[in-house]
Symmetry: C2
Subunit: 219 residues, 2 copies
């Protein structure tokens, strides 16, 4: 049931273990895409249904209303994707700062033109819904909080092993990195220019290098 160009969109790539077998999951993923493209408020249930072949009865059997469907998309689709793509790799990284740099480089290369048209599903939804629905805000904020903490932990680790300059605070770096990365994707989206996205990514990497102590490096 997935469009032919699904794999072209970084954010829509099927992840390991994800197979749209049951009706509920079908709805969830179709809603995820529709919301990513149109935003939550403009997302049409009939559209979501039309893309899956599922009927309205089935939808309202699994979800009490549109809002709860939105919540489920955040909790069961978006959270998982952010975790697997941005948080887990960071927790597992030997050198967290280097891990962060690799993450940014990989994302910069993985994004297609369609990706920068659409922007980050987490960021877009947050921008739209945080001001008008507390349920959305809380759920989205929880994801950001997780991401933030992973970066704090990583930076703190680097700091304690003496690789960072003294004037730097882990929390501040983490906030900065999250903000810059979100802003970086926005910048790419609005300019619709992949080069600018990558250029901005390089600027973040440069920042990450600035806060590291200078040492004899090959480069």
């Amino acid at each position: 049931m997935s469009d032919p160009d699904d794999s072209e969109v970084y954010w829509w790539r099927p992840l390991e273990g994800e197979s749209e077998q049951d009706t509920r999951t079908k709805i969830l993923f179709s809603a995820y895409k529709e919301i990513h493209v149109n935003g939550f408020q403009a997302a049409s249930l009939n559209n979501i249904l039309a893309h899956t072949g599922v009927t309205k009865g089935a939808l309202y059997h699994h979800f009490p209303n549109k809002t709860e469907l939105g919540y489920a998309v955040i909790e069961e689709v978006i959270a998982d994707r952010i975790f697997r793509s941005f948080i887990e790799p960071l927790n597992k990284a030997e050198d967290p700062v280097q891990g962060l740099i690799s993450l940014i480089e990989e994302a910069g290369n993985a994004f297609s033109l369609r990706d920068i048209q659409l922007g980050c599903p987490l960021g877009s939804l947050a921008q739209e819904m945080a001001p008008i629905d507390e349920g959305f805000r809380l759920r989205l904020n929880a994801i950001y909080e997780l991401w933030h903490e992973a970066i704090v932990k990583g930076i703190e680790k680097a700091r304690q092993s003496g690789r960072l300059i003294d004037e730097v605070q882990s929390g501040q770096v983490a906030v900065m990195v999250v903000a810059a990365m979100e802003g970086c994707i926005s910048t790419g989206m609005i300019s619709q220019d992949l080069n600018r996205l990558q250029y901005c990514g390089e600027a973040i990497i440069q920042y990450l290098n600035l806060i590291q102590k200078k040492q004899a490096k090959g480069k």
Copy 2:
């Protein structure tokens, strides 16, 4: 015709020379606020009208359709505000980097709780509309472009007077600053925490200090 709490919102403060005398301007400002709160797609013309006392006939006399009203809001309200608040002060600043720092500090202090609930009108609209309407994207991108260029010019000026470290590129710093500032407001909005907004602002300032050459300073 303005709400009592209008002056509480940084983005809704009446600017010098702005007086809502004629019908067209009334509609424009009401639409600006409605769009800022609900987004463009969810903005209701009837709501916009109800807040002004203007009728639908008047609206469609001045604007051919909702989309063109949205374009007018960008070109005549948002662009002007961004220019006056973020671009002009930068162009006029003696020391542009210091000017940038002041700007960030002032914004951090000026934002109310309501402001960080709503987020940046430019950023929110860009997130929502850039992917789905090229007319919006182009107009919003033009504003970002202006802002970006102002920062490039400022950084370049500082660089040429030898105040910046050598490894830094003006364009890269500008991209980074724009991204970080947008992301900073997003972060504040999602966490709904003024402290975090300011904390993030300080991180940007720290970055700006990192790219400046160290010199004997009073501080």
